[in-house]
Symmetry: C2
Amino acid sequence: MDRRQRKTREAIFSAFSTLMKNQRYESITVQDIIDKADIGRSTFYSHFETKDTLLKAMCSDIFEHIIEGSVCDYPEKSVTLEARLTHILWHFENKKSDIRAILSSQSHDIFLGYLRDYLYTLFEMHLDDFHTKVPQSFLIHHLIGTFCEAVNWWIKESPAASPEQIATYYMSVIETH
Amino acid sequence: MDRRQRKTREAIFSAFSTLMKNQRYESITVQDIIDKADIGRSTFYSHFETKDTLLKAMCSDIFEHIIEGSVCDYPEKSVTLEARLTHILWHFENKKSDIRAILSSQSHDIFLGYLRDYLYTLFEMHLDDFHTKVPQSFLIHHLIGTFCEAVNWWIKESPAASPEQIATYYMSVIETH
DNA sequence: TAATAAACGAACACGATGTTCGGTAACATA
DNA sequence: TATGTTACCGAACATCGTGTTCGTTTATTA
């Protein structure tokens, strides 16, 4: 279809992302986005129903790539957990600026919600690696929560660290003997 | 001062808490609170500047008790981490209904923000208990994040569990040898 | 019972949202 | 190059929630 559509969509994404670097998601108005992207009001609404929809679209965008990549690059079940996580973290590295914008906004919940869903299926495959006395549901929540925490720490406290480094930290902290 | 003030404040808290059990924080309007609490519009605004202020006040309320209790009951530094955490969890048990309302709302961040601040100083006292290769800052984030996750799991997935049980699960999952 | 302080609630100004619609510019096709 | 289609433009509008104002009523205190 129309090249214009993609261009406009990109302009909106880009404006939104820029704005998020300087202010909280909540305080950004549709007008701000329109001005920054230099598009008409009705154009924005013809692309996205609401500001939330835009944020969701951005999150989906990020995760689409990760999931596609995951399927293409590591289809076998024998791949280690650490390898899979490193792989995810590499994708984050590439989209770091967008992710940082989302995570540092007040509503990183939406992004983390997506991440959690995705991680759920992933960790289910590797549950046999762990032997603990806690309920399985507690364990999964723990593993996912800790990974999200690690990503948060990475982005906010030590952005220069490599994906491998973060994966190593993560593994060493969840290891139970 | 005036008994009426406290009564009104209580009515607002109670109405807010009730509303939060049924809908997301974001979707609750000041009008909803006013109607539920059966008070005048200007009365609400004479108590709280905004809806956010109200939420913060509620969080502070919960943590005041915990911190006061902590100072009175466990002043010595020799108390174990598990004992301290259990103590916190017991306070949560008492305020469970309010906490659940906040945690299940879209903006549990504010509550968790308070909790994190409080936990930070607590964990600093017990850092020597842990020996890992990860940076200290990563470790603290990990310990705090995992505790928040445990509280979340407790409230949402297994509300009948005892505070001691949760503390045990937590300890067994963060133990590194 | 008089003075003080709080609650009331209607009315208002303001700002953001999301829609509508007539007009313009870009694209695809023949 | 002409023609039909489709996206973008942007001013205008209705709607809704916010937070304030202020004169009135009701409760508390001394």
